[in-house]
Assembly symmetry: C2
Amino acid sequence: MKAIYYDIYKDLREKIMAGVYPYQTFIPSESKLVMEYGCTHNTIRRALQVLMLHGFVHSVRGKGVRVIWQAGHRTRFVFGDIETFREAAARNGLEATTQVRAFEYVVADKRIADATGFAVGDELLHVERIRHFDGANLIFDKSYFRASCVEGLTPEIASDSIFIYLEGELGMEVTISNRTITMEYATAEDREVLDLLDFDMLAVVENRTFNSEGVHFETTWSRHRPDYFTFLDTAVRGC
Amino acid sequence: MKAIYYDIYKDLREKIMAGVYPYQTFIPSESKLVMEYGCTHNTIRRALQVLMLHGFVHSVRGKGVRVIWQAGHRTRFVFGDIETFREAAARNGLEATTQVRAFEYVVADKRIADATGFAVGDELLHVERIRHFDGANLIFDKSYFRASCVEGLTPEIASDSIFIYLEGELGMEVTISNRTITMEYATAEDREVLDLLDFDMLAVVENRTFNSEGVHFETTWSRHRPDYFTFLDTAVRGC
DNA sequence: GCCGATTTGTCCGTATGTATC
DNA sequence: CGATACATACGGACAAATCGG
């Protein structure tokens, strides 16, 4: 990311998180930022748009751009953004390991196609992984990858990080993801592979990801033990 | 919303949902859209950005803009967007009623302030509501509003729709919302007011909303019975 | 492998509108 | 009313990626 607007976004974000622009105060006006960063109006606006989308600021016509990010809120055990399990675990300060439970090629029948969003007949790689951290098996991932997109993938790689392999070795870029979050009863299988204590339900995140060419190449269900699940989101009404 | 880019966004969205531009196909290039809509490059790009943010399309440099929205996916029992409970219920085709359980003015002590994000000493209106639809009490809302933002609000209005009142009568506009989703054990109170069957956990959405001036004016915890909870989201990696 | 046409991505400079104070 | 600040749009320029010949 070598774009100017993105550098400005990161700089402003840092200042907000560092308290240079505190909660509920106004950041400098667009024209001041234009002078400060030596770019144009439009480029500043681009950066401000990203700040808004990420829930850091809110702009008010005729008044200014107000900081709405609060320190302390939204921190621990967050598994929301598109990021690898390793990234999320590291950000939460946890040692994490992954055990691969299944790794097999299948052809999508109607049942799989309906569930995953792939087409009947698509060749898929079915992977099941168990995520261990903080002393317990806490997440059970069931994934279907489009086989043609994961050439050369092995169980050993899957136990490390599939996404780092895809992005590094295959040069694939993960960009957009459609997610749904639901709660489901734990199955016998869940109880077998996870350390569920006395929990009888799970938080299930269905994730359909698209690569940089807009091709749907993965559907994953992540089944989380409830006490380790937090999902974050910021929404903007209207336009 | 009188902006040109927004009209173009809505038009393209309609065409995608109507199947004019089917799943996985490319929509016309920017230059073709410029001619079709009689505006500039930048205005088209603005519309495309909104389409991307809402998970309808994905753009690939040098190739085009591909449709990634699938008909049928993401439909029923969705309570994700910033919208009133009535809007959501109506979209899901359900008759809905609301019972107001508490309605009282309080001053934020440290406990309330920490939980809600308001400051100690802020005057707040505490409201508890029970949402009934599909034949059962399914959602339990506990809200704190900034008192100065909800002048004239009555329990009767709260049983209808607080947001319609705020937007209509008070001219307030709800714009940004920070949400966290977690799972929690049902309390004795939950069991008292909701028809929980044998569920012992709830999906809890904490919602901090800001008005059009960027002022935090509401924190609500919506406690959903698990079988009626689905949350949707689309995420974009990188910038 | 190279070149040129196409397409998206970024940025500039300017102009006008609208809301706030 | 004027100054300030954000919102939208125009038109032009160049960079970067893709694709076909």
